[in-house]
């Protein structure tokens, strides 16, 4: 299993080292890894699983920090990678972000967390809710508490209730003055639009995120108006499988706080909310660019934060681009970003300009791919609708339910 975990900063410095088994892994492995990463250009391009001369390395790269795990034995690779992703997520939750300073300031907490998350190379508890009961996050509340009570320990004195409770992902004795559940549908639209404007592929990856603060052990059911559109679903461990099999109803005892109840995929969507039409015409060493953006299918809510981004092909010497709406920026790494914001009602935004090609090149041979971003609040574009959310048993307290939806562009690309 995993023998050692390293956290590397974006300059390759070892910020943290956690040996997990009796076979010590020497730090020099990080130098080897870093040399490889540097020689490859950047560590994102490195394979997630690397064979070094002595160990197999799993690496996950998040916000400039490389999480590196070493093993010498055969093991399921996804287990190593999933675990590192969880470590990154949990640290992100605990520290309120991920960067070198945060980790260095809080390395004791990081050690404590790793101690509970993995023992002898085998992952133990990675549920954020349970970890938070064992090790308090370094937030303002606990800082205040420590000032007031003089007890600055961030380790709770009691063991988490969940380890003893019937429902392992939930404490038995949650108590709230206001009982509330918020359900968010968060969707990402992935689409590819070909050179001739044909929608090659369009699908939605969505999540049902729940934030629950309910007293006791509530048993909830959530049903959709149109579950048949879902192509494939994945559930949090709290979801009971049988009710879903028979009636497509989500029946579950929620963990306390924020969690991802379910993720789903909807395939073969027929249209996108906006269109992006790039046109490139080359002639005699220059290339004219014209990109038009507009609403294709009005989702009924405002489309926000619309951006169009593309990378100039290497053979382009210089570019002069202007737009009639929003701003155009060209960065030194040849990335062009056109930020449109909200699409105006009265005119269609367009970006025009010319690209000057390398000497000797008549026409542009390599065509850029335009990546589009947008955000629509209040709509789940897959069409998925929540029908109702119920508490199974009647409870003596009032209970507030809230629903929201959001769709944003995932990998939305338009080829030219």
């Amino acid at each position: 299993m995993l023998q050692c975990i390293f956290l590397l900063s974006d300059s390759g410095e070892v910020m943290l080292e956690k040996q997990l088994t009796g076979h010590r892994v020497d730090r020099s492995i990080c130098d080897w890894f870093w040399e490889q990463a540097v020689s490859q250009g950047d560590s994102f391009k490195q394979l997630p699983v690397v064979a070094s001369p002595t160990h197999y390395l799993f690496q996950v790269f998040r916000e400039g920090i490389t999480f590196l795990a070493c093993t010498q034995v055969e093991m399921p690779p996804l287990m190593g990678i999933e675990f590192l992703c969880r470590v990154a997520d949990v640290l992100n939750d605990y520290l309120g972000g991920l960067n070198e300073d945060l980790i260095k300031d809080n390395f004791v907490i990081v050690y404590e967390l790793l101690d509970e998350m993995i023992d002898n190379g085998f992952p133990l508890t990675t549920e954020p809710n349970i970890l938070q009961e064992m090790i308090a996050p370094p937030n303002i509340v606990s800082k205040m508490l420590s000032v007031v009570t003089g007890n600055s320990s961030n380790v709770s004195d009691v063991l988490p209730g969940a380890t003893a409770s019937r429902v392992p992902w939930r404490t038995a004795d949650a108590k709230y003055a206001n009982n509330e559940v918020y359900v968010d549908l968060v969707e990402e639209m992935d689409a590819i639009i070909s050179r001739d404007g044909v929608l090659v592929k369009c699908e939605i990856n969505g999540e049902v995120q729940v934030n629950s603060h309910i007293t006791g052990i509530p048993d909830l059911t959530l049903s959709f108006a149109n579950p048949s559109i879902l192509d494939d679903v994945r559930f949090h461990r709290c979801v009971r499988f049988r009710p879903w099999e028979s009636h497509q109803v989500l029946s579950f005892v929620p963990p306390d706080g924020q969690f991802k109840l379910m993720s789903y995929r909807v395939r073969k969507l027929k249209s996108t909310p906006i269109y992006v039409k790039p046109q490139l015409t080359s002639d005699g060493g220059t290339c004219r660019v014209n990109v038009m953006v507009g609403i294709r299918n009005d989702p009924g809510k405002t489309i926000d934060s619309v951006t169009v981004q593309f990378i100039l092909p290497p053979c382009v010497l210089s570019a002069d681009l202007t737009s009639n709406h929003g701003t155009v920026n060209i960065f030194s790494d040849k990335t062009c970003t056109w930020s449109i914001g909200r699409i105006p009602k009265d005119k269609a935004p367009s970006m025009t300009g010319t690209l000057v090609l390398e000497n000797g090149l008549e026409r542009l041979h390599v065509f850029p791919t335009f990546r589009v971003g947008f955000r629509i609040m209040g709509v789940a574009l897959s069409g998925l609708q929540i029908e109702k959310l119920d508490l199974l048993k009647s409870v003596p307290y009032r209970f507030y339910k809230g629903f929201r939806a959001l769709t944003q562009a995932g990998e939305f690309e338009v080829r030219s």
């Binding site: 410095e13 699983v49 133990l124 004195d157 994945r234």
Partner: protein, 843 residues
């Protein structure tokens, strides 16, 4: 009292600054150690933090060991945790000082707070100092009986740590049996899961010396234990679920009902949020249904959606690991995924290793219905900024063309590539057009027209140049200016750095000479002269050979250099199916990511729990035959065997892949060596059906090898092996045996065309085999791939032969894998089986 180590230990050169600060810290810690002033805990904590941060950045703070231990006699849990961390890090290098910590750790193990008990026990076991093990036994014993599950959970892993420090102490204290009891009775799922992982490791390591441990390990796979875990699986944490699923994948159910029960029970695991669980479940499903061809196919259908979701959600790293597994499945059963080809379209900002896998999958799933769209998509990538991917996608287009779907449209696309005027696109396309022509000579007219327009000056890459030259030579009768193009190439002989190109040039000029002697004579003379003067041995030798051949007799030379060719039907596969199967057996492991079976990249000692099942298999045979040594050896031998055959195949593959992608002549040499291999394997009996490709030899290397007309080898003498015509074997036993036995023979075989034709009626082969007492137990597959499982028994004893026979009807290539109880007669059986196949379809 400075520790004695301090003076000897020189600070590491990279951290020269640490020394002063360390001695500073030392004096400060010493001051605080005895103090009871209020607020002293806070200042201690600050100091500890400093020490640990030094430790983290690599400064050696081990000289502070004594002071740290003195200071840690506090009640503050954060202080304790930091101290545990420090002690754990340095105890191994300071075994004497570690003794100091035992005392306070042991005291903490009896603390009333279970959290402290657990933490102390964990730290105690993490000291890993061999001469302190005696102090571990007591706390571990009471930890295992602790009322709090957290402490028990820590203690179970502690036992494993103790085992690694001193196996004998652990076994003497009878910890393994305590763990076994806990595993089967503890109410807490985490404790149970830890017991399982600890026991697996301990018993696997013990099994080599102690028979009892081997039995215990085997018992982990017994029905009651596996069922016990499966029934509780929902209680386990996601990671422990992976462990249980791994165990279930090794379990051999006794009948098909059991298989369906297990699959029903586990079906919802495919919906789990954790990708590792989904993949582990997938492995169980695939392993369980290996012998049930049609159910196996349904499993593919069932796991398809979850895996595709995993690929498209999640981080790029997760996506890659899942994609590698999906890649394996797609390669095994492309037709199942042919409707999902859009999932394998590349996104613009995916890393190129992901794109590469996706391109391979797109190539594999192409069929009649989707070829047009896939090729259209691939052509878009050809204009990609990422040049390696652009090349890769052009190659993919070529591969699809060679799979013979909708060739018409593809040829047009390839020819468009040639007109794109990008040097790397032209280069790749040339290589492909050459391969295409070797398979579909009927397209030569269209291609030649375009190729003829390409000036060899615009082609720089050796592979592409070689391809162009090959075409110039091969089709010189259709190209007006071929002799002159070749002539100008010969003139620049000295500037041509690649010997491969020069070799091709020699052959091409020769071919051209036979077709257009007057125009080429000058070029030939120049080429031979230049070749004879060449410093490269191969080029020199080939030139000399041609020269002497021409001197001897021109018409003989033509027969040797430019014989009539037959179209190549199938290009050599890049990876042998043996290797692919082996990787499939290691599903959900690193093997899949590396696309190599584990024996090719891991040391034997590190192969880990995956060796488990093999060894177990051969152990249970040992129990039957009361002889544990022989089967072990045979497995070993088989292992080597396998290694040998794969390396052999790899040799062939290297040549083959070279050839298929780039150079025509060297490919046919691969074909020769392959048929050579087959000859050696099958005792000349297949020579009659030797692959048609060996007739296509235009290479000189092939000359020393008797091919073609001489093939009338006598059929093999009737084998002496007699089979029981009424043999019976139930599917469960077959499956069990199939798992346990090593492969005793594995061969490739080309089916005669008549035989292939007969295969369209489903039971023809089964009946044919039954006539000679080889019975079919299962069969299935979809055109063009069929799979059969046969068995046979010897007439006079109950020794059984098991056969897996896989055939691709479009290529007529098939693979035979034989497993036998009696290894010695497997050779005879193999001959019998093949002679039966050769009679199949002949009147």
């Amino acid at each position: 009292m400075a520790p004695p180590q301090q003076s000897q230990r020189s600070p590491s050169p990279s951290q020269p600054s640490g020394k002063g600060e360390v001695s500073d810290l030392k004096s400060q810690l010493r001051q605080l150690a005895g103090s009871r002033a209020p607020g002293v805990d806070d200042s201690k904590r600050e100091l500890f933090k400093k020490v640990i941060s030094y430790m983290t950045i690599g400064i050696d703070v081990s000289p502070l060991f004594g002071e740290m231990v003195m200071c840690s006699a506090a009640s503050d849990i954060v202080l304790k945790k930091m101290c545990y961390l420090y002690v754990g890090n340095y105890a191994k290098v300071n075994p004497d000082l570690a003794l100091l910590t035992i005392n306070f750790l042991q005291r903490d193990c009896k603390d009333e707070d279970p959290m402290i008990r657990g933490l102390a026990l964990r730290s105690l076991c993490s000291l890993r100092v061999a001469n302190l093990v005696e102090y571990l036994v007591g706390p571990l014993g009471s930890g295992l009986k602790d009322s709090n599950s957290y402490v028990r959970m820590v203690a179970v892993i502690g036992v494993l740590k103790l085992y690694h420090i001193s196996a004998s102490t652990c076994v003497d204290a009878e910890f393994p049996s305590t763990l076994k009891h806990l595993m089967l009775n503890d109410p807490d799922a985490l404790v149970v899961a830890n017991c399982l992982s600890a026991l697996q490791e301990i018993w696997t390591l013990e099994a080599s010396t102690a028979e009892e441990a081997a039995r215990e390990r085997e018992a982990l796979l017994s029905k009651p234990v596996v069922y016990y875990f499966l029934n509780r699986i929902k209680e386990f944490s996601e990671w422990a679920q992976c462990l249980v699923l791994e165990l279930a994948a090794k379990y051999v159910p006794s009948d098909s009902n059991e298989i369906f029960d297990i699959m029903n029970l586990l079906e919802d695991r495919l919906q789990h949020a954790n990708g590792a669980v989904v993949l582990a479940t997938t492995k169980v499903f695939l392993q369980l249904t290996l012998s049930m061809a049609d159910v196996h196919q349904q499993v593919y259908e069932r796991i398809k959606a979850p895996l595709l979701t995993l690929v498209s959600s999640g981080s790029p790293e997760q996506s890659y690991a899942v994609l590698s597994h999906l890649h394996l499945l797609v390669m095994r059963a492309p037709y199942i995924f042919s409707g999902d080809y859009k999932h394998f379209y590349c996104q613009y900002n995916e890393p190129s290793y992901v794109k590469k896998l996706k391109l391979e999958m797109l190539t594999a799933v192409a069929n009649e219905s989707n070829t047009y769209e896939i090729v259209t998509e691939l052509c878009e990538y050809a204009a990609n900024v990422d040049i390696p991917i652009a090349r890769e996608s052009i190659r993919a287009v070529g591969k699809i063309a060679l799979q013979q779907y909708d060739v018409n449209a593809i040829v047009d696309r390839l020819l468009q590539f040639l007109e794109m005027e990008k040097d790397y696109v032209t280069a790749e396309a040339l290589v492909l057009v050459k391969d295409l022509l070797r398979k579909y000579p009927q397209w030569s007219q269209d291609c030649i027209a375009v190729v003829g327009n390409i000036s060899s000056k615009n082609v720089q890459e050796p592979k592409a140049k070689a391809a162009l030259i090959w075409m110039l030579g091969e089709y010189s009768q259709d190209m007006q200016d071929a002799p002159y193009a070749l002539e100008s190439l010969v003139e620049n002989w000295d500037e041509e750095h690649s010997p491969e190109v020069r070799l091709h040039l020699l052959t091409a000029v020769m071919k051209c000479f036979f077709k257009k002697p007057p125009e080429t004579q000058k070029a030939l003379g120049a080429a031979l002269a230049a070749g004879l003067a060449d410093y490269h041995q191969d080029v020199h030798d080939r030139a000399l050979f041609y020269y002497r051949l021409l001197q001897y007799n021109v018409s003989v030379a033509e027969r040797v250099v430019n014989p009539p060719k037959q179209a190549v039907s199938v290009f050599a596969d890049t990876q042998s199916s043996e290797v692919k199967d082996r990787i499939f057996d290691e599903f959900n492991s690193l093997s899949v990511v590396y696309q190599k079976p584990s024996y090719m990249f891991t040391d034997k000692e590190h192969r880990g729990p995956f060796e488990f099942s093999d060894e177990l298999g051969n152990l249970s045979i040992g129990a039957e035959s009361a002889d544990t040594v022989v089967p072990a050896q045979s497995v070993e031998a088989n292992d080597k065997d396998l290694l040998l055959s794969t390396t052999e195949k790899e040799d062939g593959r290297d040549l083959g892949s070279n050839g298929s992608a780039y150079s025509a002549p060297s490919y046919s040499s691969a074909a020769t060596s392959q048929s050579h291999e087959e000859l050696a394997l099958t005792n000349a009996s297949v020579l009659g059906q030797a692959p048609a490709s060996s007739f296509a030899i235009d290479d000189l290397l092939g000359l020393d090898f008797p091919v073609g007309g001489t093939a009338a080898a006598p059929p093999p003498p009737p084998p002496s092996l007699r089979l029981n015509p009424k043999a019976v074997l139930d599917p469960g036993t077959f499956q069990q045996k199939w798992r346990q036995l090593p492969i005793s023979s594995s061969q490739e075989y080309s089916m005669s065309p008549q035989g292939v034709a007969l295969l369209t009626s489903p039971n023809a082969l089964l009946k044919h085999m039954k006539d000679i007492s080889i019975h079919c137990i299962a069969s299935g597959g979809q055109s063009p791939n069929f799979k059969y499982f046969f068995f046979a028994q010897k007439a006079e004893e109950t020794s059984t032969f098991l056969v897996e026979y896989i055939i691709n009807t479009s290529s007529a290539k098939s693979q035979i894998k034989i497993k036998a109880d009696d290894q010695s007669s497997s050779e005879a059986f193999s001959t019998l089986f093949q002679s039966a196949l050769s009679k199949f379809g002949s009147p």
